[in-house]
């Protein structure tokens, strides 16, 4: 036995020596264990050199070990993921304030979507805010109602809490917290040599592609801005006998239409307008997008250039972080309504210029302080820029949604299949002239329909009449189809669709207005007695709902005022025409016979 013991010890000692020599140890001392394997990794960007930062400071893990498994214990692949961002990007010595701002921002909470769903589906217009946001839904594994179930299965792949998944493509690259925006190119690793690792590239110069990953659905703002109209899925014109290459995610195709003038003429990216306060949030939790929104058209087109405010490090730091926009060097900058410095819009010796944040190219801005007649017309005070300068709005009518209780579908927050399957179809999609209405009492805005017909089927496939419902809603937004030339006067004053009545013939009789819609809903058994695009009736009664109480179509008084101008427009077709200086007085003069006779035989009473 003693002999066996000693033989055994000798054999095992030999094995031990062999194993010891096989163990990896770097040739040179390393600052942290990670550098033993990953010293050759490329830098994420100039501000985050690997030689200075190492890996541990962002990716956590165990920096003291040279063993791969031990070193990777507790490591995070994406330090920008919101679940770990406070220890990654947002740690005290790095970007401490930003992570909490992002977590409260609307792109993380998705409160706007949830509030709107609750408004229309649950509270029937009583405007109760949703009690949950994305983070709250992540923490539970049951859904309280159809609105939440719909959200988690159809909407919840576009938010900052979403974990990035491996691979390429739109769905894989969505979400990821900080990385969702700031990673401009995903890294690659070669399996043969760990040291030749191409790290993901980070940048503050975020290309529009990162935004359009998510903003190509719903309002289609990202698509419209680039002049893409989501077509009906035919993939025509065919290329080499196959559907063409102009494809979008989800087996969709697009056609070309005039892009937004900011894109077409100046090659502006999303970040050239949208400030860090509205993209990352300002720390406050907002209920809706419009509350978080910062920049408006006037910030750039009627800017107030000022000296950089005392102690405003942000204004100095942002161009430095951007690195292609030149430093301020005493130039005056414009500020947004929330106080964010528009550091790329400045007034210097050569006049005003907008510096593109992606390239640093200077775009000359012709800013005139003189108020032009078309921007100062009495009666147009409430018109938003988009009302006149957006000739098209994507409009999607009759979204037919089915819900089968007996089937399963993936809950995108839980990552598991749960009972209930949604399917979404639509009747027809158009890219047409917008409907106008009031976004609030101070603002007229383009509107687009959001019509949902939900059919619920029980497990035995029988139609559940009690739980099925239909929502006919309209929603205002900036369609991002801005053109330099505005719509003409008759485009609004003479188009019943622009007034919210719908497409058809509008006539004025002595008994009042008469509207004959092109689409006869009653005869076609549509299920409602108004056309799908009719926001209001001729007497101003709202026919569609909107998700805020202050949102509405033109009322009878407003319709009367708008249509009162229409007969005059065929002759008085310029903004400078004196009759428009005080139109009410001009009408009184006409009725009183004091004005020169004109060929108009009818004056709207």
């Amino acid at each position: 036995m003693k002999k066996a013991f000693f033989i055994f010890c000798v054999v095992l000692t030999g094995m031990l020596i062999v194993l010891e020599h096989q163990r990896f140890r770097p040739d040179q001392p390393v600052s942290e264990g990670c550098m033993g394997c990953h010293a050759g990794a490329s830098d994420p960007d100039k501000s985050h050199p690997v030689a200075a930062f190492g890996c541990f400071s962002c990716h956590l893990g165990n920096p003291y070990s040279l063993d791969k498994d031990r070193a990777h214990a507790g490591m995070v692949l994406n330090p920008g993921d919101l679940s770990v961002a406070a220890q990654g990007c947002g740690q005290e010595k790095c970007h401490p304030g930003i992570v909490s701002r992002v977590k409260n921002s609307i792109m993380a909470t998705n409160k706007g979507i949830l509030n709107t769903l609750y408004y229309h589906w649950i509270t029937n217009g009583k405007e109760a805010a949703s009690p949950v946001d994305v983070q709250a839904l992540l923490a539970v594994d049951t859904r309280a109602n159809l609105a939440e179930d719909h959200f988690v299965k159809l909407c919840a792949s576009c938010h900052f809490w979403r974990e990035r998944t491996p691979g390429q493509g739109e769905f894989a690259e969505r979400g990821g917290g900080c990385s969702g925006c700031h990673v401009v190119k995903r890294g690659e690793k070669t399996t043969e040599d760990l040291s030749k690792f191409t790290h993901s590239e980070l940048s503050t110069r975020i290309p529009s592609h990162n935004c359009v990953r998510c903003h190509n659905r719903s309002a289609r703002a990202g698509l419209s801005y680039e002049g893409k109209y989501e077509s009906e899925g035919y993939g025509t014109p065919f290329e080499h006998g196959q559907p063409n290459s102009r494809g979008l995610s989800g087996r969709r195709f697009y056609l070309d239409l005039p892009p937004d003038v900011h894109h077409a003429r100046s090659e502006m990216a999303c970040i050239d307008c949208h400030t860090h306060l509205e993209l990352m949030g300002d720390g406050k939790r907002y209920e809706y997008l419009e509350e978080q929104r910062d920049v408006i058209c006037k910030d750039c087109h009627e800017p107030r250039f000022v000296e950089v405010r005392q102690g405003d490090e942000t204004a100095e730091r942002l161009p430095r972080l951007n690195s292609v926009v030149p430093p301020l060097e005493g130039a005056k900058v414009a500020y947004s309504q929330k106080g964010a410095p528009l550091y790329n819009l400045r007034q210097g010796g050569h006049g005003a210029a907008l510096y593109l944040k992606l390239t640093g190219k200077a775009v000359s801005m012709n800013i005139s302080t003189e108020k032009k007649a078309y921007h100062a017309l009495p009666g147009h005070e409430r018109l938003s820029c988009q009302s006149c300068h957006s000739p098209y709005v994507p409009q999607c009518y009759g979204c037919h949604v089915t819900y089968h209780k007996g089937e399963f579908q993936k809950d995108k927050l839980l990552g598991l299949e749960t009972p209930g399957r949604w399917r979404e179809g639509r009747s027809y999609m158009r890219f047409e002239t917008p409907i106008l209405g009031l976004a609030n009492e101070q603002t007229i805005s383009p509107y687009s329909p959001c019509q949902v017909f939900v059919s619920v089927f029980d497990k035995d496939l029988s139609y559940n009449d009690g739980e099925s419902f239909a929502i006919s809603a309209m929603s205002p937004f900036d369609p991002h189809t801005t053109q330099n030339a505005s719509r003409t006067c008759l485009d609004c004053h003479g188009d019943p669709k622009a007034l919210g009545l719908g497409q058809g013939l509008l006539s004025a009789t002595k008994d009042g207005l008469l509207f004959c819609p092109t689409y006869d809903s009653v005869a076609s058994n549509f299920g409602q007695d108004f056309a799908p695009e009719s926001f209001a009736s001729v007497n101003g009664t709202a026919l569609h709902t909107a998700s805020r109480h202050e949102r509405r179509p033109f009322n009878a008084k407003e319709l009367k005022a708008i249509l009162g101008v229409t007969p005059c427009l065929s002759c008085h077709d310029t903004y400078e025409d004196p009759i428009y200086r005080d139109f009410k007085k001009s009408l009184e003069r006409l009725r009183g016979g004091l004005a020169r006779a004109c060929g108009v035989s009818f004056v709207y009473p």
Binding site: C9, M15, L19, Y64, R70
Partner: protein, 299 residues
Amino acid sequence: MRYNRGSKRFLQQTQKVMAKFFNKTSLYLPRLSLAALIICLVSGVVLAFQYRPFGNVFQNVEEITTLVPYGFFFRRLHYASGEVFAILVLLHVADYFFRSAYKRQSFFDWFQLGLGAALCFFILFTGFILQGGLEGYFAGTILRNLLELIPFVGSAASHMVIGRGHAFYFLPYLYHCCFLPLGLVFLLRKHIRDWLPDWGSMTVATMMLFIYALAVPMPKALPPGAETSFITGPWFFLGVQELLRHFSPLWAGLFLPALFAALFLSLPALSGVWARVARYTLLTGAGVYAVLSVKLYFF
């Protein structure tokens, strides 16, 4: 009738085989556990040359594991032999408990052996703390907080066991490397004399532990500053950890374990119905503890 006789014979044979097995097990358990203890002490001495209980202890432990030549081997050997020693001690104690061997022991001898068994788990616990990772740091902090709860002497007791600030690991280090092993050897001196491992036991223990140390990596540890949603202590304290989730620390962390230990140590002094009550209480307590441990770990 033939069938019944056959079954009875089968049962008797099975009982004989099992009795033989358990008798042999009873013979080898203490020898193997002492063999593991010897290996643990020797490997511990080797590690003590490299270990520093001040500063970044976690970094030091990782350097021993991955940088120091043959450090990985001695660390794995030390870890495995300590665990094996504790598990074999537990089995040995259970074996003697089921055989009611405490009836043949004097109270003083049984007390010393029981205290020794408890001490071996405390050695393991201090070793768990000395890894320097997140789990060890929390384990030491919880121990300190539990000791603070002892009426009148809590503060003094906690200061004698766990240091503060940079000296957090120093006292556990002294206990682990010096006082507790000496105490253990003293308490088990008669046992060691009676059950000193023969070459067979030594060979088997050495062979198994060496192979383990060559083949099985150390469990991964989290750095002390890491964030995690769930953390567990050493396997033998999982039941206490589960109890702490439902009861106050004074009850779950001090009173109930002390009651269990007191009942166990007083077994030789009890007789008649009290002995039976104590025995079944201990059995039930052990069973509940095992269930709680499994529940925490897996669910």
